[in-house]
């Protein structure tokens, strides 16, 4: 039992946090919400140079060959500053999809491009009436001579507007079967509309209007993607938890610091029992999120059965994300409702992370099933 990061992970974390606190203050995420791309390419370039995009890519493909825990370490650092950019959609969603589903050849081709930052990716899964559950996907991939033709509308596709490759999850032709197709970002028939979101992430509506895909651009085996895709969603949920842990940690640290320094009624507000108890509750929530997340990540990294631990982590972390950032606002008072003050960015990010890849209710139902209910 070793309930802290390894020496290597700690170094990775320290380096990443240090870099991001310097190069990417939380205000950047908010400024970038109206940028066309949604992030500064120079920042993305630096992340690539530091090897983050290759964190989980095997060394043979040009990566640094880390595991899921290393990935979470970087995500936590990114969460600490609410960093904008295509890291999550490319490295987490794209990279893990390729690792879970891809053929050897695809891994070689795609993972190396992810590691070098040549390829930005996006995952098109959710639809108007299908959310975090592939069994309700209606977008169909029709088999045609030499490949597939996709028709349907995908929603909440993060970074589709800048993606080189969009992974499109389709069903058919066999009832309930699932395939993941590699669609080029500039494929004819693709219509991409960015949506305006709470936390400024670039989610898009993506219409696939008879988009053609070559037979070789099926990720892995056609119509057999369901189990691998479920594994991907689980990993994405935990990756989101790691990001949230970073986000909540900063909001918490800001709040404790403020409580020590801000005076009212002639004493620091942190000396009032009500404020102290708020802070204590925040710490319970945050510590719980951290360990639940690390436990799930550790199981994923070791490829141990992880279903319950993933659901526990996302259910708990989703719930406390709101609670912690709400208390942070309460303790900060009026100042935190100014656009200039960074806290609202964390409050937004916390809610967005709460919902992403299944909120607490969603994962609690999974836990219930696991209990035998």
């Amino acid at each position: 039992m070793e309930l802290e990061l390894t020496e290597e992970q700690r170094m990775l974390k320290t380096a990443a946090s240090g870099f991001l606190k310097k190069e990417c203050p939380p205000a950047l995420a908010w400024e970038m919400r109206e940028d066309e791309r949604g992030y500064p390419p120079s920042l993305w370039q630096k992340m690539i140079e530091m090897g983050w995009t290759g964190v989980m890519v095997p060394e043979t493909y040009g990566g640094i060959g880390g595991d899921f825990m290393d990935l979470c370490v970087i995500l936590e650092a990114l969460g600490e500053v609410c960093a904008p950019g295509p890291f999550f959609s490319t490295v987490v969603l794209g990279g893990l999809a390729v690792m879970e589903l891809g053929t050897e050849a695809q891994k070689e081709a795609l993972l190396s491009r992810i590691a070098t930052g040549e390829c930005i990716m996006a995952l098109a899964a959710d639809e108007e009436e299908a959310w975090c559950d592939a069994s309700f996907i209606k977008t169909r991939g029709l088999r045609e001579a030499g490949g597939y033709r996709i028709s349907g509308t995908k929603l909440f596709v993060e970074n589709a507007h800048v993606a080189d490759i969009i992974l499109c999850v389709v069903t058919g032709p066999a009832e309930g079967s699932l395939s993941v197709l590699l669609v080029q970002g500039d494929a004819p028939g693709l219509r991409i509309t960015p949506l305006k979101t709470l936390a400024g992430e670039r989610q898009c509506e993506v219409v696939f209007d008879r988009v053609e895909v070559k037979a070789s651009d099926v990720l892995g085996e056609a119509e057999k993607a369901a189990p691998g895709f479920d594994r991907l969603l689980d990993q994405a949920a935990v990756a989101k938890c790691a990001e949230l842990v970073g986000c909540l940690q900063t909001a918490f640290d800001m709040t404790v610091a403020y409580a020590k320094e801000r005076e009212q009624f002639g004493r620091p507000i942190g000396s009032f029992q009500a404020v102290q108890h708020h802070c204590a509750d925040m710490l319970i929530d945050l510590d719980g999120a951290r360990f639940a997340t690390y436990q799930a990540a550790w199981r994923i990294a070791g490829r141990m059965p992880w279903s319950r631990e993933v659901a526990v982590a996302k259910a708990w972390t989703s719930d406390v994300a709101r609670k912690v950032t709400l208390k942070a606002h309460q303790i900060h008072g009026a100042i935190s409702f100014c656009e200039e003050h960074p806290l609202h960015v964390f409050y937004r990010k916390a809610k967005s992370g709460e919902v992403a890849f299944g909120d607490a209710d969603f994962h609690l139902e999974r836990v219930a099933g696991g209990l035998g209910l």
């Binding site: 959710d126 009436e129 299908a130 959310w131 975090c132 559950d133 309700f136 929603l155 909440f156 509309t193 949506l195 305006k196 979101t197 709470l198 936390a199 989610q203 509506e205 005076e263 009212q264 009624f265 002639g266 009032f272 009500a274 404020v275 709101r322 709400l326 606002h329 309460q330 008072g333 009026a334 409702f337 100014c338 656009e339 200039e340 609202h344 409050y347 937004r348 809610k351 967005s352 919902v355 909120d359 209710d361």
Partner: protein, 396 residues
């Protein structure tokens, strides 16, 4: 025990409802703005609407006629507030400040001349006050005011800084707390002034709120000269006057009325939205969440009614206004959050996105609702008031 209204009161409610159905500007309904979203257009609509209400005598319904009111009962006021909230009339915080806070204080502590100078205009919707209470180091703690007012001939000279001053950039006057005796203990030595916002030496700097709108300000006072007759009430007794002014709180009944509107909109959304194979309205967990909010909003309504009923008896609410405020603000958080949970990924989309649910109103409520537990005394302070003033628990 009788929760009913008299026939006359019911008639007034119908009159109000019909008037509002007819008169609320359609453009306002299109805007669907929350209180924190103020633009030139929304300001103009709100001002016009308030002048219209003022002409009708509905802006200051309970005030004496000589000050522009109609001398109507607190229950009539409750009915009007509830119906306006239900109809979603044009509204901003400035009316609550002017009509709900500043003018009643002037009515209590001002000279007859001061009353006649400000109240009738306010009752007609012609003038607006902003509140000059908060300072960078005095948020919840009004006794810590540092802005000074020093006598100089016929004038006071004001120096200092206020912050979180809502609508300072639009207001005609500032209702200012300033220290007139620097040597007195904290709670003594504060006085209240009416300051013309056009006075030389006043600088207003915008603060942009988290919805991206300009409604707060910092206000700097640099050698601002205010005629002595603008001091309201007793010199150095401002802190005590403001403590009394807490009791002017209206019922707050607009809050539960607006909550019920929001709940109804969420119900309608759930009845027509399918997710993962079923209608949201068929999900027992969602049903329970909405029902709980509805129960809580109903209890809040009753607690608001109680305030009016106390006032109607000619008594002053004690802890009841604090109790209602703390419950209302935390319920608003729960409403906003539950709304977001129900909307799920669609709740993440802001107004302006084609897919945004309920025009992004829940998202905007989610961002602004936490501030209700802060402005006008934090929830922590309200609970202290309930415990000490309401229950007599000891201070030390």
């Amino acid at each position: 025990m009788d929760f009913s209204f008299t026939a006359e009161q019911e008639r007034f409610r119908r009159e109000v409802r019909e008037y509002l159905e007819r008169e609320v500007p359609p453009r306002w309904k299109e805007l669907g703005y929350l209180i924190w979203e103020e633009t030139d257009e929304s300001w103009d609509i709100t001002r016009q609407w308030n002048r219209k209400l003022g002409e009708k005598g509905w802006l200051a319904l309970t005030w004496p006629r000589v000050y522009g009111g109609q001398e109507r009962s607190h229950i009539d006021q409750l009915i009007l507030d509830e119906e306006m909230a239900r109809a979603g009339t044009p509204t901003g915080i400035e009316t609550a400040i002017t009509i709900g806070w500043v003018c009643p204080t002037i009515m209590l502590f001002g000279t007859e001349e001061q009353k006649l100078r400000y109240l009738p205009d306010a009752a007609k919707g012609r003038i607006i006050f902003c509140l000059g209470y908060s300072e960078p180091n005095a948020g919840s703690d009004l006794a810590a005011v540092r802005t000074t007012a020093v006598e100089d001939g016929d004038h006071y000279v004001i120096n200092g800084q206020k912050v979180w001053t809502t609508v300072a950039h639009r207001a005609d006057y500032c209702w200012l707390a300033a220290r007139t005796d620097p040597d007195a203990p904290k709670h003594k030595g504060v006085s209240m002034f009416v300051v013309d916002m056009k006075s030389p030496g006043i600088t207003v700097k915008p603060l942009i709120n988290i919805l991206g709108f300009h409604s707060f300000n910092e206000v700097f006072f640099d050698e601002v000269r205010v005629p002595k007759e603008n001091l309201v009430g007793q010199k150095n007794m401002g802190w005590y006057q403001l403590a009394v002014a807490l009791d002017f709180e209206r019922s707050g009944v607009g809050t539960p009325a607006r909550m019920h509107r929001t709940i109804d909109r969420l119900v309608a959304y759930c009845r027509q939205t399918r997710r993962n194979g079923r209608l949201l309205s068929e999900d027992p967990v969602i049903r329970k969440k909405l029902a709980r909010l509805s129960v809580e909003a109903e209890v809040l309504r009753l607690l608001c009614y109680r305030i009016t009923w106390i006032q109607e008896k000619g008594k002053t609410p004690n802890y009841e206004a604090s109790l209602t405020k703390v419950f209302a603000s935390e319920l608003l958080d729960r409403l906003a959050n539950t709304g977001m949970e129900i909307l799920g990924p669609y709740g993440m989309l802001d107004r302006g996105s084609p897919r945004a649910a309920l025009r992004g109103e829940i998202l905007r409520l989610y961002l602004t609702s936490p501030s209700m537990g802060i402005g006008g005394g934090t929830s922590e302070i309200q609970r202290n008031i309930i415990a000490m003033r309401g229950l007599g628990l000891p201070r030390k």
